[in-house]
């Protein structure tokens, strides 16, 4: 008996509001991030991740206000990702009450930013988000590369080498998204998850493709993930966090129940 695997609901926010809303019974305005965060906390979510998709830099102040309000009422770890480009961005989010920030594109443009951030704030709050896509043919040994801009732009970087490089520079955790599976509800890319999880010493959060509870189980048992991140299956009321936790526990996975 030891460390529990984590379930992390992920919320997309735009201008301080949750995009598309969340389907909880009894919440009239399902776009309010504070209400949604409180509800997920009550349900037993192990952490919450916010992905800021606010387009304009000026409007990002609303995200800071939002994080502040949530941090005053929800006492589980909060991660904020999206548009984190400088150490000032990180400081702003941590001061607002975020526990971790997730760095994505900025790490690809300037890997040393990860080093600088880890040195300044400590690895424990630096998550590197890795968006990977399979580039090998089905007849070949599997190989994945890093993509940016929602999977549109190839970088030519090998995903496993990149993951190891990020950890060497100071990433304390990796948020791994399969761009092939994201939004498909076909399940995680277990080959990718397993390959990255085996290649690094830090925890790996599997993301992209969750459509049912068996996918969560497989992410941990076959993919070797330390945490699973999902959005739509929780937001639209298909499954609740307690259901997911019970299901995973029934399949022999240690959970915080």
């Amino acid at each position: 008996m030891g460390l529990a695997k984590r379930i992390i609901p992920c919320l997309d926010v735009d201008g301080g509001r949750v995009v598309k809303g969340v389907n909880f019974v009894g919440i009239r305005d399902a776009g309010d991030p504070v209400e949604i965060a409180k509800r997920y906390n009550q349900q037993g979510a192990d952490e919450i991740t916010f992905l800021d998709i606010t387009a304009s830099h000026e409007d990002r102040g609303t995200t800071v206000d939002m994080v502040e309000r949530i941090a005053g009422e929800v006492f589980i770890p909060l991660t904020v990702g999206g548009g984190i480009r400088t150490c000032d961005d990180i400081r702003t989010m941590l001061n607002a009450g975020a526990d971790k920030v997730s760095i994505n594109t900025a790490a690809v443009h300037d890997p040393d930013f990860v080093y600088e951030a880890a040195q300044r704030f400590g690895s424990q709050c630096i998550v590197v988000a890795i968006d990977a896509k399979r580039v090998s043919q089905s007849s070949e040994a599997p190989r994945w590369e890093i993509f940016t801009h929602g999977g549109r732009n190839a970088t030519g970087l090998d995903a496993i080498e990149w993951a190891q490089n990020m950890v060497a520079l100071g990433a304390g955790e990796l948020l791994l998204t399969s761009m092939d599976r994201d939004g498909t509800k076909a399940g995680f890319d277990l080959g990718l998850t397993h390959a990255i999880s085996e290649a690094v010493a830090v925890p790996v959060i599997a993301s992209g493709g969750v459509g049912n509870l068996d996918h969560l189980v497989a992410g941990v048992k076959e993919g070797g993930a330390d945490a699973v991140l999902a959005a739509s299956i929780f937001h639209f009321g298909e499954h609740s966090i307690p259901d997911a936790k019970r299901y995973m526990a029934e399949h022999g996975i240690e959970m915080r129940l």
């Binding site: 030891g2 460390l3 589980i76 400590g122």
Partner: protein
């Protein structure tokens, strides 16, 4: 009645302050001001990141002497969190050896490489997430919290206190016995983050606020 969260430039102080404000009506301040720290009825010593940086900042911000003074007086309740726990020991293996405050005998050790669980699965470092804390000795800060309750951890180094009597909570990670809660007199310190451990964490903070050692 004031609770001072000691600000020496390391750690997510706002989370701790906000969680304290959630469980008490007492005044909570985040400060490095000597007068306010001396005047506070209770102190919280947080800490995050590298212990070398924490010790260096403690020294640089002139808070180190104050903390040592409080520890020596043994009158005021103090809660150490994360690196704030580790700094109470003699020294740490981190950064090739760092001298700490030496209030509780023992060392801070690194989880060994290739750490595995009993079934042979590889364990990740940092130890990140919710793990069980076994209440090794009774303590007022455990009041209303189940033995074996889970708290949120994130750390790569762990406390190994020498004296059995100073250990109040133990957590297993692989073959490492993490001394997740230690204490002596009015001082209690935890490796996990009560401010991020949902209901159980808030209860521990509430117990601290009400503690009359």
């Amino acid at each position: 009645m004031t609770i001072a969260v000691i600000d020496y430039g390391m750690g997510n102080l706002h989370s701790v302050a906000k969680a304290l404000e959630h469980v008490t009506h007492e005044h909570v301040v985040v400060t490095r001001d000597a007068r306010r720290i001396r005047g506070a009825t209770r102190l919280v010593l947080p800490g995050q990141g590298a212990i070398r940086d924490c010790m260096a900042e403690l020294e640089r911000s002139e808070v180190k002497g104050l903390v040592q003074e409080v520890l020596a007086d043994a009158e005021k309740p103090l809660l150490g969190i994360c690196v704030g726990e580790q700094m109470l020991l003699d020294d740490s293996e981190e950064n090739d050896g760092i001298a700490c405050l030496g209030f509780i005998p023992g060392k801070v050790r690194r989880f060994k490489h290739d750490l595995r669980d009993s079934q042979g699965h590889r364990l990740k470092v940092p130890h990140m997430g919710w793990n069980r804390v076994h209440q090794y000795h009774p303590h007022p800060l455990w009041d209303g919290i189940d033995d074996g309750e889970r708290f949120y951890f994130v750390h790569s180094y762990y406390v190994d206190a020498t004296e059995d009597a100073s250990v109040f909570g133990k957590t297993e990670y692989g073959d490492a016995q993490v001394h997740a809660a230690i204490g002596r007199g009015p001082v209690f310190a935890v490796q996990f983050h009560p401010e991020k451990s949902a209901g159980a964490g808030l209860r521990l903070l509430e117990n601290f606020v009400n503690w009359e050692p």
